[in-house]
């Protein structure tokens, strides 16, 4: 384009362009624009990343520090403060989450480090309306406060401030394997009350040896309803609750992309690839499924799972985990009562895009698959589920009823216990009994917990049965107070896995979870096994192994069994096998208690006490290892008490000394437990 042409078309600025100029106005304008933009780029872009660092340094270098948290809360319009005593950051994280939660309930919270504030300010917190102080306190070492809570702890001990008007709640983080479990949480909770403050929710005690996160969530779910009730505040004020996931219905989808019950990789049940574990279970064919008992109302069974070709290895004492499926009629009834199309293909996508958990269970899938393989529909629902569902009850009385049970008031808790827990009402029962409650099925699927794998102690020895894993289980089936029949998910499902001669193989998705329940290293070490009922399972494996070792010419020590059941002629499990082992000498002592064959109850602990001298000799001189398997609630405790008695009497010790002796046996791995409740 010629210069002259441009000169005539462009609006000329005030100063005229000299003839024959090298650059036109456009060029100059464009040039300066480019230079300007480039300057902007170099000078300002980098700063965007660096500014955050700068502003974060500022608070430290500034000399004015607000040590009154009450003043800070007043300035920033907050009514809830969450203090944390944290060493590893967990309590701090919980504290942050709680302070963020407040927003959901129309309140504003802030998380605070007690080390940075003057804690005596607590006496002024009531100046703020609807204020609340929450404490997430971790216990460190031998019942000590965390470093950042030391000053607060000292202040609590020394002060005699009147904290009347202060509302509080405490969640403690601890670990049950330590003697002073949650000492700090307990202390803060008690002390604040002593100083006159008002507790508005019970002390939470998280156990890091169990599942701290779960303990926190459970506490939190009941905590907020209690807070809302206390302050007369409705959660978010509206009827709608906070959904975590968004429903997406798939109308035109490739069926190969749809999950049909797999736990991990799509199609992992069709093309199986080792290694097999919790996310990739092996579909083991069932080769044997026989009833073990001769009579009685219960059904005890022995199953054998074929693991050839899976490369799965196990040791006797390990656990086999199975992924069960829910009863189809239960699934159908839920679909029917909610008027849902169970075969609709859908996904539930997490609204929080940053979350690692994209879906609550493998998606896309159908409601039928979700309710059958992924969701727990048999356990009584937790209170948070009731709380979320309440909004869908169109009858105001029924809605009130559900809300009340979900609240943490004493009345509410009692109601929940009696109406849900004691009657063992599952979700279907609740839907049946609360006729105006008809939630959308996708929201229900979001709320129900995941269906968990069930663990069974393996009843075989890999030395004798390297390609087969045996299970010994009792089918759970009982009538509730309301006359409904509740069935155990996995045991019912396993019961129906009966192999037939022709037809395709019935399989069980399973994997092996290593346990620490092991025979002693030296075969010459005596073993005392106590396993009444289905607790005998791992010991069948143990005895098989000891017999095998004997056959191998090894020096095998005393192999002592204490077993118990209800009736000799009804549910004496593995009677023939045990008799055979006893005859061969693999089992050197067989003591069996039949609890209901006579007027008074006779249990394994009674038999133990009949052999006090012999048991003591084995323990004290023979270095015997003790194993207890079965019911955790009563049997394990009764057996342990029997040992205390034996040790005290024959070891000439006081009761506390005997307790200590037995505890030491546990620490040294000579007293092992495989118990369940």
């Amino acid at each position: 384009m010629g210069d002259s042409a441009m000169d005539s078309t462009l609006p000329t600025p005030e100063s005229s362009v000299p003839e024959g100029a090298l650059f036109s106005m456009t060029d100059v304008f464009l040039f300066s624009l480019i230079v300007g933009l480039l300057s902007y780029w170099f000078l300002f872009r980098k700063k965007k990343e660096e500014i955050p660092e700068f502003t974060k340094i500022q608070p430290v270098t500034s000399s004015v520090r607000e040590t009154s948290f009450v003043e800070k809360m007043k300035k920033t319009g907050r009514n809830i403060v969450v203090f944390y005593g944290s060493q590893t950051g967990t309590a701090e994280e919980f504290s942050n989450r709680l302070s963020k939660d407040a927003h959901r309930y129309g309140m504003r919270g802030m998380s605070a480090d007690p080390e940075e504030y003057d804690m005596s300010d607590l006496s002024h917190l009531s100046e703020i309306d609807n204020s609340l102080a929450v404490f997430c306190m971790a216990t460190y070492g031998e019942g000590d406060p965390t470093d950042n809570a030391q000053d607060f702890y000292d202040w609590l001990q020394e002060t005699d401030t009147d904290l009347t008007g202060l509302k509080f709640a405490v969640f403690g983080l601890g670990n049950k394997t330590y003697e002073h479990f949650n000492a700090m949480g307990k202390y803060v909770d008690k002390r604040l009350e002593q100083l006159g403050a008002q507790r508005i929710f019970e002390l939470g005690m998280g156990d890091d040896d169990g599942n701290l996160e779960e303990d926190f969530i459970t506490w939190r779910e009941q905590f907020w309803p209690a807070v809302c009730e206390h302050f007369g505040v409705e959660a978010t004020g509206e009827e709608s609750s906070i959904r975590q996931y968004e429903l997406v219905v798939h109308t035109d989808i490739n069926m190969n992309k749809v999950y049909t019950g797999e736990m991990g990789r799509l199609k992992s049940y069709e093309s199986q690839k080792p290694p097999f574990d919790a996310k990739n279970p092996f579909l083991a064919p069932v080769t044997l499924n026989r009833k073990l008992n001769q009579g009685g109302e219960r059904h005890l069974m022995h199953l054998e799972l074929d693991i050839s070709g899976s490369k799965i290895r196990y040791e006797s004492g390990d656990h086999v985990a199975v992924y069960p499926a829910n009863d189809t009629s239960l699934v159908n009834q839920i679909g029917e009562i909610l008027g849902a199309d169970l075969d609709m293909i859908m996904s539930l996508n997490n609204l929080d895009e940053e979350s690692n958990k994209k879906h609550p269970f493998p998606c896309p899938t159908t409601y039928r698959t979700a309710l059958t393989y992924y969701l727990d529909i048999t356990n009584p629902p937790r209170t948070n589920v009731l709380y979320e569902l309440a909004q869908y009850a169109t009858d105001p009385n029924e809605q009130e009823h559900l809300r009340k049970m979900a609240s943490s008031s004493a009345e509410g808790k009692t109601l929940y216990l009696s109406w849900v827990v004691e009657t063992r009402r599952n979700i279907l029962a609740i839907l049946q009994d609360v006729s105006s409650l008809r939630p959308p099925i996708d929201h229900l699927c979001e709320l129900l917990p995941r269906l968990q794998a069930r663990y069974y102690s393996i009843a075989s020895s890999s030395k004798v049965h390297p390609h087969s894993i045996h299970i010994c289980a009792v089918v759970v089936e009982y009538e509730t107070k309301l006359g409904r029949v509740n069935k155990g998910v996995a045991t019912t499902w396993l019961k129906n896995k009966v192999p037939n001669e022709n037809g395709h193989k019935l399989t069980v998705p399973m994997y092996v979870r290593k346990s620490q329940f092991r025979l002693p290293f030296k075969s010459s070490t005596p073993v005392i096994m106590i396993g009444p009922g289905t607790g005998i399972a791992p010991f069948v494996g143990f005895v098989q192994e000891r017999a095998w070792l004997k056959q191998q010419g090894k020096d095998v020590g005393e192999t002592v069994m204490y077993y118990g059941c209800r009736h000799e002629n009804e549910d004496y499990l593995y009677r023939e096998e045990l008799a055979q082992f006893h005859k061969e000498g693999a089992l050197t002592q067989l003591n069996v208690a039949f609890s209901r064959d006579q007027a008074q109850k006779v249990y394994v602990q009674h038999l133990l006490k009949k052999n006090k001298a012999g048991v003591w000799k084995l323990i004290h001189e023979g270095n015997a290892h003790i194993y207890v398997c079965g019911d955790a609630r009563n049997m394990a405790r009764d057996v342990q008490n029997a040992f205390y008695e034996i040790v005290a009497e024959f070891g000439s010790m006081t009761q506390p000394q005997a307790v200590d002796y037995v505890k030491k046996l546990m620490t040294k791995g000579r007293y092992s437990l495989d118990v369940w409740s």
Partner: protein, 296 residues
């Protein structure tokens, strides 16, 4: 415990597990009180320090596990041979790759005290294998106990992902219950046949193992203190808070500090509000245009 009237070596007062715990009580406290460990427990550990620790641990575990493999059929080690449950070398390799990148082998080096530790491990494994259990006990049982607490601290202090990258060392995939596993391990230790003289030597070796570990920490602490003297010292707490904005595995503490300084300089010179920014650009443009016009 009451004195026994029998001769069986197992019921002799003081199972190996109990004797070891007793014998190493003092050195254990010593190790916990080294400056490095105290700082670590407070969350005061920088990425650079942590990477150095992991590198040292890699050398140590490589040596330990090499000697364990050599002696896996030795009667004095078999009962406590738990490779699937315990061995850390692979986990450390994964962590080192996460922190240093794929060329991590060329990036790391073995400090003097770590080399001493490694030499001792090889010596024991090759010449006194009955003492190897002392080293396994010192490291593995520690990792299963306090090690779990250290994992959480490291995760928070270094802002490592909750999915576990960079912390594979602390994660024992093969152990479903640490407490029960330790109990099993102790029963295995106690089933190793040994005469009183050997037992005594094992206790001594365990103490030595602790001291070797302490020396590794102390050397690390010295190195770290020298580094701090060279660059501008920043307060510990702010360092932790600002690190949240930087990529954990791209920068160490030194670069971050320099970044902080330059950014402070920059912001002194240039305005930060958007409006001021645009005004500046516009005036710059106008100036350039004016200059251009003037030049024509």
């Amino acid at each position: 415990m009451e004195g026994s009237k029998t001769h069986s070596s197992e019921s002799m007062p003081g199972d190996l597990s109990e004797a070891l715990k007793e014998a190493t009580k003092e050195v254990h406290e010593q190790a916990e009180s080294t400056e490095f460990m105290k700082n670590f427990q407070r969350g005061q550990v920088s990425l650079q320090e942590f990477k150095m620790v992991m590198a040292s641990l890699y050398y140590i575990y490589s040596a330990l596990e090499e000697e364990i493999e050599r002696n896996k059929d030795h009667p004095a080690y078999i009962p406590v041979y738990f490779p699937a449950e315990l061995h850390r070398k692979t986990a450390l390799q994964e962590d080192l790759e996460y922190f240093y990148g794929p060329l991590w082998r060329e990036e790391i080096s073995c400090p003097e005290s770590t080399q001493k530790y490694v030499n001792r491990l090889h010596y024991v494994g090759q010449h006194e294998p009955e003492l190897l259990v002392a080293h396994a006990y010192t490291r593995y049982l520690g990792d299963l106990s306090g090690g779990q607490v250290l994992k959480k601290i490291a995760q928070k202090a270094l802002h490592l992902p909750s999915t576990g990258e960079g912390l594979e060392f602390f994660t024992f995939e093969g152990v479903s219950n640490a407490t029960k596993f330790k109990q099993l391990y102790r029963s295995r230790m106690n089933s190793i046949e040994m005469d009183p003289a050997t037992k005594k030597r094992i206790l001594e070796e365990a103490k030595r193992a602790f001291l070797l570990n302490i020396q590794v920490f102390e050397e690390l602490q010295k190195f770290v203190s020298q580094c701090h003297e060279n660059s501008h010292p920043a307060q510990q707490k702010p360092e932790l808070r600002t690190r949240g904005t930087s990529e954990a595995h791209e920068q160490g503490p030194a670069p971050v500090k320099e970044g902080e300084k330059t950014s402070m300089k920059h912001t002194d010179m240039l305005p930060s509000t958007p409006l001021a920014r645009w005004i500046l650009v516009l005036s710059f443009l106008v100036t350039t245009v004016a200059v251009g016009l003037f030049a024509m």
